[in-house]
């Protein structure tokens, strides 16, 4: 109804309001608009393909959201601030004596496209947005309040820049007009809707931090043991983009290479390009693998555990007699592949992993693989084909490997150039069964046999989907780049023949030092390709490239850390799980022998496209694949830092978590170095004590004491 009290600002169920007192000296303004966002229907993650379903996103409008003029700009609709509830169509009409920032408090009594809201969230519209919308004093200003306008306000706070800059920066990041940023989400592109989903998740988490009275980060910065004051909404919205010191990135590319210890790469004349990138970017100099051989490491990179796997048997292998529990559900199996027996289950079912976690939150992943047989099954290794040949790579005398290579040698496509054991998405039943499994496994070009593969490929086959995706921007948040087993430094038997001869001759560069040099060049090719892309050159997209190895080569000493306790007794106890009734127990996993893993350290470098980001950072704190997974969970807001249990698998094993659960973690009971054995994000927060001797230094002189500085290798500014 029309008549509005001038005393009380908020009127339940009404859409009309005026500020008290009535019109006086200041010119009153009316503001109308909508509170809009997105309705995200999570995917159904299931082992059965039939039970799986993709996520859905739709533009949405919020009903019964409390909209107010946030006169004191504190991120809260305080008593006395003019407010109104949105109507069923998300609209509001608010009148006040002057303009200012707007808030929309979306509570659990609000409706999102008619659906119940489960987590409170506060959306904002900057005061300058309201002013800019006021076309005439007598015409109500039209203002949309959305996750995108909230992000504009947050960027203004974070970067201390104007509304115009913040608005344009976000528009540039999303490749849309500034008007799109300030509009409601109806008619928005899929990219904008996706961003709205991700922002909504961050801002909902911010509200959660406020509601549980987390301590203000400013107070914690001054005193890590501070117990107050409580975090404000504006602080929380900033913190939600920087969990555990790991900033939000839009896209990360992991170039995963194979089997080289730090000593084989660092300073090697055969890896000049990788070394140059390491020095130009940021390095993590105590980065540990988690197992041996590839598959347990690839599992750990994808999920922070290896589930007891200690070999490279394929996903279709599991213990005899466990068919009911471990049977393959994504039938039919590829031709020539049958279920096989193995003492350890390789068909990982019902376990958390980064792929499912990303899709569950509206994000995407890709695995790009090189030298894949056209049309072949991603679950199966590439097959040898003597009819698919390419010239041997030739090197000149001035290159570190010297003048090697055989002119005229036609090198055959070898088997397992594409290795399923290196593809983390293959290991998990619920990932293979997901609707996006096939779509998210894509080809990557730049390989020796690209032209030959194109010649025999079926119509429509794209030998370099990665190149197209870089150009279009259709990459995932997490992109794992898998060079073939020559370009990744693993090595396979690679032979060729000379014209007119059937005698085979080894190719020049898929073994020995030449293999490193070949991998170095391919890594350089990938990095240059990414750095030439529109994504990388969009200054407001936050993009990182990681150069890493799945494992080193050390077999003794401190060859693992951070989630594994190499000094503990190998116990056949599975990882800790919290049961429905709140009790804690060890999961039963056959052959699970934690404490006997690891394969030493490898180089780990990070490049990012942010000009203001610190460069030349050297972080020598100990990290592992498990640390990387925790880092990625923070980066993509997949877990809650205040609750270690929310982190997947062994990435929850922080020092605090281990201490709290030590009675159930006997392998840590005798830990000689609790920090070294525990998991942490790669945030360079820990200051290595003076006198502490690095456990696995390179090359032989171990670092003593702290790093030169504590800058964060992932920081954006």
């Amino acid at each position: 109804m029309l008549k509005i009290s001038l005393i009380s600002g908020a009127v339940a169920g009404a859409v009309l309001s005026l500020a008290a007192p009535a019109f006086a000296a200041a010119t009153p303004v009316a503001i109308r608009g909508v509170v809009s966002g997105t309705e995200f229907t999570p995917p159904v993650i299931a082992n059965s393909p039939g039970g799986s379903a993709a996520s859905r996103v739709a533009a949405s409008l919020y009903q019964s959201a409390k909209v107010c003029l946030d006169a004191n700009d504190n991120g809260v609709c305080d008593a006395g601030e003019t407010s109104v509830l949105t109507k069923a169509d998300g609209s509001f009409l608010l009148a006040a004596r002057s303009t200012g920032p707007l808030l929309a408090e979306i509570s659990t009594t609000s409706l999102n496209n008619g659906k119940a809201v489960t987590q409170r969230m506060v959306l904002r519209a900057p005061a300058d947005q309201v002013s800019a919308a006021l076309i005439n004093p007598l015409v109500p200003a039209r203002v949309a309040i959305s996750p995108l306008t909230t992000e504009v306000a947050r960027i203004m706070d974070d970067d201390h820049i104007s509304f115009e800059w913040a608005k344009n920066n976000l528009a540039t990041r999303l490749n849309v007009s500034a008007d799109t940023i300030l509009s409601d989400t109806s008619g928005a592109s899929a990219e904008v809707l996706k961003e709205s989903v991700l922002l909504s998740s961050r801002f909902a988490f911010a509200a959660k931090m406020v509601d549980r009275h987390d301590v203000s980060p400013a107070a914690l910065a001054a005193d890590p043991n501070a117990t107050g004051p409580a975090i404000t909404m504006k602080e929380a919205q900033l913190t939600a983009m920087n969990l555990e010191g790991i900033p939000r990135y839009d896209h990360v590319f992991l170039i995963v290479l194979e089997n080289k210890a730090t000593s084989s790469i660092k300073g090697s004349k055969y890896a000049p390009r990788i070394n140059a990138y390491l020095n130009a970017g940021n390095q993590f100099t105590s980065y540990y693998s988690t197992g041996n051989p590839s598959e347990p490491n690839r599992l750990a990179i994808a999920s922070a555990d290896d589930f007891g796997i200690t070999d490279d048997s394929a996903f279709n292998c599991y213990p005899s007699g466990t068919t009911a529990a471990n049977a393959i559900e994504d039938l039919p199996l590829p031709p020539g592949v049958n279920a096989c027996n193995n003492t350890t289950n390789h068909n990982i079912k019902g376990k958390q992993n980064l792929f499912s976690a990303l899709t569950s939150k509206g994000m995407s992943w890709r695995v790009y693989s090189e030298s894949k047989n056209p049309g072949a099954d991603w679950r199966k290794d590439g097959t040898a084909d003597s009819t698919i040949v390419a010239p041997d790579y030739l090197y000149t005398a001035d290159e570190p490997v010297g003048a090697i290579g055989t002119p005229g040698l036609q090198v055959r496509l070898a088997s397992a150039l594409y290795a399923a054991k290196h593809n983390g998405s293959v290991f998990f039943q619920n990932v293979r069964s997901s609707p996006e499994f096939l779509a998210n496994n894509r080809t990557m070009g730049g390989g020796q046999w690209d032209e030959a593969l194109k010649a025999i490929a079926p119509a429509g086959w794209n030998a370099d989907q990665f190149g197209d995706d870089l150009a279009s921007g259709d990459v995932g948040q997490l992109n794992i780049l898998e060079p073939d087993q020559c370009d990744d430094m693993h090595g396979v038997t690679l032979v060729g023949t000379m014209p007119g001869s059937s005698a085979t001759k080894a190719a020049s560069d898929c073994s020995g030092n030449a293999l490193i040099y070949r991998g170095d060049k391919y890594t350089d090719y990938l990095i240059k390709k990414i750095q030439a892309s529109p994504l990388w050159n969009n200054p407001h997209k936050r993009v990182a490239i990681v150069m890493m190895f799945d494992e080193g080569t050390a077999t003794s000493g401190f060859n693992s850390c951070c989630g594994w306790n190499t000094n503990g007794s190998p116990l056949a106890l599975g990882p800790l799980v919290k049961n429905a009734d709140g009790t804690v127990s060890n999961e039963v996993i056959t052959n699970y022998k934690q404490g006997n893993k690891g394969h030493g350290t490898s180089t780990f470098g990070v490049l990012n496209n942010q000009s203001a980001a610190p460069k030349g950072v050297v972080d020598s704190d100990a990290y592992s694949h498990i640390s990387l997974v925790r880092t990625l969970q923070d980066m993509f807001q997949l877990a809650d830092p205040s609750d270690d249990w929310s982190y997947m698998n062994r990435s929850k094993y922080s020092q605090k978590f281990i201490a709290a659960n030590i009675l159930n973690l006997p392998e840590y009971a005798g830990s000689a170095d609790a920090h070294f054995d525990a998991v942490r994000p790669m945030n360079h927060t820990y200051v290595i004590p003076a006198g502490y001797v690095q456990k696995n230094g390179y090359p032989t002189i171990k670092q003593v004491g702290p790093d030169a500085d504590q800058r964060n290798g992932w920081a954006l500014k």
């Binding site: 109804m1 029309l2 009153p28 076309i135 005439n136 015409v139």
Partner: protein
């Protein structure tokens, strides 16, 4: 020539004599209504010479004399000079009536009603009424044209007019006799 001028003057006098009062009303989506009246003469479906505007919004009269204007798609502002465009056809409405000049004294406006169907994308089709004195406010976009009504106010029947004239004559006669007495 004199005859033509005389005829024109006669016609003008006739037209002036026939300026009508119109009643109008509009109902917002949320229920509140605007009612009112104005004086002018209808040319086609447009009211010309709009004056003497009275508005009641949600049961409360706007106080004081009301100024009219229309929205200019060129200047993107109210234009007092162009005046209010009021029509029996809601789609042609382009007016604002306010208790201060909407173009030059917007800061002094405390009660207003506008109904604009404009080609200017900045404003488009909007209806908005507000009375800052009592807190009444309502807004529509798009306008609800079907609820707009503008009709001539009822005039007395001929017989009623005759009786009125007779009554006046009678009053005049009595007054004349009193003065003679």
């Amino acid at each position: 020539m004199k005859k033509i001028i005389s005829a024109a003057l006669l016609l003008a006098a006739f037209a002036s004599a026939h300026a009508e009062t119109f009643n109008f009303s509009y109902t917002f989506t949320d229920g509140p209504a605007v009612t009112g009246s104005l004086t002018g003469h209808l040319v086609g479906d447009l009211v010309e010479g709009v004056s003497n505007v009275h508005i009641n919004f949600n049961g409360t009269d706007f106080a004081g004399a009301l100024s009219g204007a229309s929205w200019s798609a060129v200047t993107h502002d109210w234009s007092s000079a162009a005046g209010a465009v009021v029509s029996t056809n809601a789609a042609k409405n382009n007016f604002i009536f306010a208790d201060a000049n909407p173009q030059h004294n917007a800061a002094d406006v405390s009660a207003q009603f506008f109904f604009v169907n404009s080609s200017d994308a900045l404003i488009g089709n909007q209806a908005y009424a507000v009375n800052w004195n009592n807190g009444d406010i309502a807004f529509d976009q798009p306008t609800r044209n079907a609820t707009w009504s503008l009709v001539a106010a009822p005039v007395p029947e001929p017989a009623s007019a005759a009786m009125l004239l007779a009554g006046l004559a009678l009053v005049g006669t009595f007054a004349h006799r009193r003065r003679q007495a």
